[in-house]
Symmetry: C2
Subunit: 181 residues, 2 copies
DNA sequence: GTTCAGATGTTCCAATCTGTAATATTGAGG
DNA sequence: CCTCAATATTACAGATTGGAACATCTGAAC
């Protein structure tokens, strides 16, 4: 490989292994209800990523030349190999988080007028947001689409624990907002 | 405000409230051992963000015209107001996660030769990475720089719980790697 | 069978962001 | 005074972002 592929490339390769012949659009939908939970990824990026992978010969593309002009993608042998190589490669990468709610909490100054109110409201919003997420995950589990003991079920387990943890945290904040500077 | 400010703008404003007269470089250092844990933010972005905020009149800048040419930043009254407004504004934003380790786990196929080995190794790497993070956080707590009951201590608490949760998760994976498809 | 809303699907784009390298200064230690 | 590490800013090519624009298909209701 000349330059190493971005992670999003592996997301495409990984999904294609299971869903050969999918369109970028379809991949986007799958991402949004699985991987999207721990790897955000805007739709437009998928089309760009597909182009790049085609250029590198890791996937093959067939585009309808009328109608919806669907682009159906499939792994090449090289793509399959590259995916395997990646899956077997060590990574020192650490989880990265973006949480606007925590940021707002961080910057609160308990000395400000209304800070306690702001924090309580913030906590309530965040509880709702995380409960919403948790409900989605629970639904996914209940749907039975994930085999117990599968890697997909395992990653979802992280999602469940994470959401529960965050709900617990924000409940504590709501009950007793930070008061010290 | 014409267009809403990006979150990173509020990071700058929020830090400046506590550290008036800081340089972008100094802000970067502070970010890397506090907010950076839940809001990633490359250094170069800070300089660009400072420019933007100056243009909008939310911060004032004084640059030394010799030596290190330090740019010292401080909040204007408008900047202060904007920060306050933001802190008091509701947000529906949900936490976003980027975790390459989980991604690799997600894409494992227990049918592949060596999958169990890959997963065990992955789990071990991740345990180390998360333990490293946890150690940093513990150190921060031990340093006594964060008052108990402060918003900053509260957000760090999330970091602690998160890392412990992830360590627990990966230990389970190491002990019994997913085996089902 | 027509119509319409909503889902499917791709393309385009300006603005922004990213990572990294280049440049220069200062301070500490030998 | 020399050197190394830390401090500090600038520059910038390439990638990414989010959204809007565009077009097609499906199915339900009438």
């Amino acid at each position: 490989m000349p330059t190493p592929l971005p992670i999003s490339a592996y997301v495409v390769l990984g999904l294609l292994r299971r869903h050969d012949g999918a369109t970028p659009y379809e991949l986007d939908q799958r991402i949004r209800q699985s991987i999207g939970y721990f790897w955000v990824f805007p739709r437009s990026q998928l089309y760009a990523e597909a182009d790049r992978l085609v250029r590198r010969g890791l996937i093959a593309e067939r585009q309808e030349n009328d109608g919806r002009r669907r682009r159906t993608l499939s792994l090449t042998a090289e793509g399959h190999d590259e995916l395997h190589r990646w899956l077997a490669t060590p990574t020192g990468a650490v989880m990265e988080i973006h949480d606007e709610g925590l940021l707002r909490l961080f910057f609160q100054d308990p000395g400000d007028a209304g800070a306690a109110t702001s924090m309580t409201r913030l906590a309530q919003e965040q509880i709702e947001a995380h409960e919403g997420r948790l409900a989605e995950y629970d639904e996914l589990v209940a749907s039975g689409r994930l085999r117990p003991g599968s890697p997909q079920r395992a990653t979802l387990e992280v999602g469940l624990r994470l959401q529960r943890m965050m709900i617990g945290f924000w409940r504590e904040v709501a009950a007793e907002p930070p008061h010290e500077l």
